[in-house]
Each structure stands twice: as structure tokens, then as C-alpha cells.
Homo-oligomer: 299 residues x 2
Amino acid sequence: MTGASRNPRRNLSRALTCIANADVAQTLAAQDRPSPDGLPRIGITGAPGAGKSSLIARLAGLRKGTNRKVAVLAVDPSSPVSHGSILGDRIRMDAIADDPDVFIRSIPSRRAHDGLADNTADLLNAMEGHGFDEIILETVGVGQADYTIRTLVDTVVLVLVPHSGDAIQAMKAGILEMADIYVVNKADLPGADLMAAEIEQVAAHQSADEWTPPVIMASRNDPAGFEALDAAINTHAAWRANSTDAAVGRRARARYQAQGLISRRIDEVLEAEDPTFLDRSPAELFDAIVARLARKDPD
Amino acid sequence: MTGASRNPRRNLSRALTCIANADVAQTLAAQDRPSPDGLPRIGITGAPGAGKSSLIARLAGLRKGTNRKVAVLAVDPSSPVSHGSILGDRIRMDAIADDPDVFIRSIPSRRAHDGLADNTADLLNAMEGHGFDEIILETVGVGQADYTIRTLVDTVVLVLVPHSGDAIQAMKAGILEMADIYVVNKADLPGADLMAAEIEQVAAHQSADEWTPPVIMASRNDPAGFEALDAAINTHAAWRANSTDAAVGRRARARYQAQGLISRRIDEVLEAEDPTFLDRSPAELFDAIVARLARKDPD
């Protein structure tokens, strides 16, 4: 959109700020049809404190070493939630902030009905075509978000910490059955081996689709764990390319995005009306909203 | 709708089955504008195993004794989830099943994006006008559902069990700050007093709206706890009637219901189309869906 700058990070940053500040009509005007060969997307999910950000920094470094420049979108529930759309001042850079080949943008989980931000799909689309090779979506595992992340990314990595109760919570929520790769992070803590064994047992039962999720031990001082994760992501991506229909995945994303945009458009419509607009029968209200959903009046 | 039968339970059962089987157009056709004086609605939420059903049975018995006939809608995540809409065979009657003045219907958390069923609002509306005096909505506390229940009912009761980790989870999720009444159930278990004290501390901090949520101890063999809950519900209802604007609450419900119905209508539209319908740019897809949302083609 800007065209002038040849700084990929700056271009991507502007594109994201544009989408973050856009209303539904502006978002629709700014987004092309998704390319059949969009960037690979990796989802990293896990509870707060699981060490996702540090792990992503390490991972980004490794992937850059094999010529994969990574752009990270982190949905951060601790960011101030605002119904406005100012995002620029919430840019948060981490350990790899000075690396020109890595991009990180943190966004609040704005008006989310599923633990993500209601514009996550729009932002992910906007990350295409700025000179990066891969997208990482970082989310906090909060139940519903983990189902959505499955739709939005190609490879789901669940990060767990020994003795945190994470695994039990994840198992209860059925999340444990949705990841493609498990990381037992901070694996130098006691209980890590036991946790890994437990997860392996669960993971072995879910190979209905012929992918048996690996369980990887990682800790700050052991580079081998991060290298294993790096390799496992590539293995899964190769498996997925051979075993799943890219069109099915692309359509599921298009559907999710469209539903999110219509849902936001409903909010826009209702915010523009007087509260008494809602004093109707369900049928009258349905018709009145639907009549106002179009981006502009047809001429 | 049936008119013939003077059996209130049968009439209500038929009305709910009608809505449960209805598509969006049929739902809209069947529902009137909500009455300004709709039935009082009590939400009972808590983790599985918290003893909500037994507690509701006791409560229904007490309220019946003061001429409040209760109709219960239980959203049950353990019910088989079906994208179809057959509900009749999932009717589940509990301890009070033979009491003609109590009605219980269990529904699965169908296609829920928030832990509830996507037609919960429609079903609650359909429970009006069948000779019952109050509605109880039973839900499993799963984060997002607790925010929704706040919209759908007048009084939120959160049921917790000592040493279950419930309180910590609820606190983390911010749910603990959303209830109007807390019940420490199975209060004969060790740790109940400590849990009650902890909740009271949290509850005392949330009295911004001048309602300090009581913490009630309940256990199977102690009728006083259930009587205290019964009284606390009445006290909260009286406080709410004086302190909140009924129109605001009614409009929030209308809005939630309309958004749910439009979301379901989007699903209907997309299910009627070929998958390639989704192979469009975001703007084209938005326009194509919106053009199809109307219940019937305008003539």
C-alpha cells in the first residue's frame, strides 16, 4: 500500500496498523483474495508464563538461519483492551527486536468472542506479501481460542510447563488433542519427564489422521530442544502438504474471516443507532440489522 | 402455539422442541417481541461436578413452596452434540421430574461459540407465557459462557466446591467478579470455610455497583443453606429491580439474540452453497453472504 519504503518491517508495520485502525468497509477494501500459496503459518499456544515469547525468539533465530524470515503476531490478553483501534503504541518488541529479519507485533485480544482478537484473521492476511517467509501466531490457550487457531494456522504447537496444572487443564478442555506438536518447556524443572510421558500417551491415541504429534523437551540452556522443535515444524509442514487439501483449509479461513467481519459490521450498525432500535420483535430486529449490513447503499 | 392442552409442562415442552428444531426463519416467525415484564431469570453456573443439578432441585422445591413454579433450562456440554436439531429425545428429568410444577429441559451446547448453545436466547424467550413463574438457566462455567449468562439472566449464582481448584480457575478467568451470589457447595468438605473467606474477600472488592455478593455455604444435609440461597436470590432480585434499568437489560438480550440468529443464518447460507462459494476476495464474500441473509427474497 505504501510502496515507497523498501524496509519490509516498516511496510508490514504500516499494513497492520492500517488494518488495526480500519472499520469493516476499510478492511474489506484493503484485502485481496487470499493467494493459493499463502505463507506457512505456525501457531504457538499455551498458558501465560509458559515461556512462549522466549521460545518464539529462539525459534525465529533458528528459522532465520535456514532463510526463513519470521513475522510474529502475538495476541496478548494482558494488553489494554480498548474499543478504539489505536494499535501503534502497543507495539512490543522482544529479545529479537533489533533483528531486521524478524517482525513482532503484539495486539490485545480485542472484543474477542473466542479469546483471540476479532480482527486476527484480517491481520494475518495483511502479513502476506511483505517479504517475510513465515507467520507465527502466538496465542494464550483459553479453550475456545485453541479451536480457532486450528483454523487460522497450519501447525499448532502447544507449550506446557511441568507441574503447572497446564496439562490437566488442557486435557479437560480437549485442547491436548488439537495440537500437532507438544513442547514441555522449562524441562529442567522436576516432573518434566513424567509430563512428557503422559502427553505422549494422549498423543498416541489421536493418530486418526496419521500424524502422531511429537513431544519435545525444551529448556533455556539446551539448544537441542529448540532445534528439535524447528525440525518437527518442518516435518509437520511436509506431512500436511501431502495429506491435506489446501483449498479446504483456505475456505475454512475465508469463512471464519467473513463471519468475524459480519459480526463486527453488526456491532458497527448497532453502535450507529439509538438504543431504542433494539426495541423490536426478533424478526423485525433481524430484518432491520440485515438491511443495514451492506457496506454501502446499493445504487 | 398448541393451545389445546392445559398441561403447562407439555405446552412448554412442545414450544421448546419447536424452537430447538427451527431454522432461523422459523425461529423468527415463532417469537414475539419480549414483554417488558418477562419472567425473572436465575443463572446457576459452575464446573461439572459442583452439584448444580441437586442444588437446583432443592431450590425449585423451596421456591414452589412460595408459589414460584420454576422452569429449568440446562445447557449440558456432555449431551451429544449434533448439527441436526433433534432435541426431544434428550429430555432429561432429575429428582424433581415427577413434580408437575417444575419443568426441566436439558440441551446440548450446540455449535456454541461461547460455551452455551447457539439458540439459548431463543429457548429462554420461548419459556415465557407457559404458566411458570421463574426461569433457571443452568450452565457449566467455561469462561466465555459466564459473560454471556450475565446478559441472559437477572441473577448469577456461581457454585463452587472446596479444594476443587474451581475458585482459582474462576479467579483467573475473572468469573469470580461476575457473580451476584456465591455458593460454596458440599460445604461439609474440609476447606470450605477457608474458601468462603477467600471469596468474601474478592466479593467485598467488587461492590462498585453497591451489591455485595453474599457467600452461602450449602451441603446436602443442611436445609439452612438452601433456604439462605432462596432468600438471597429474592434479595438480589429486589435490589436489581430498584437499581437497574430493565430496558437496558432487555436490549442487551435482544442484541445478543439477534447476533446469534444472524450468525446461525450465515451458517445456513454457507451450508446451502457449494464450497467454492468461499473462493472470493473478503469483500466479494462479505457482499455475497450479506445479500443472502434475508429470510426470504424481497419481492
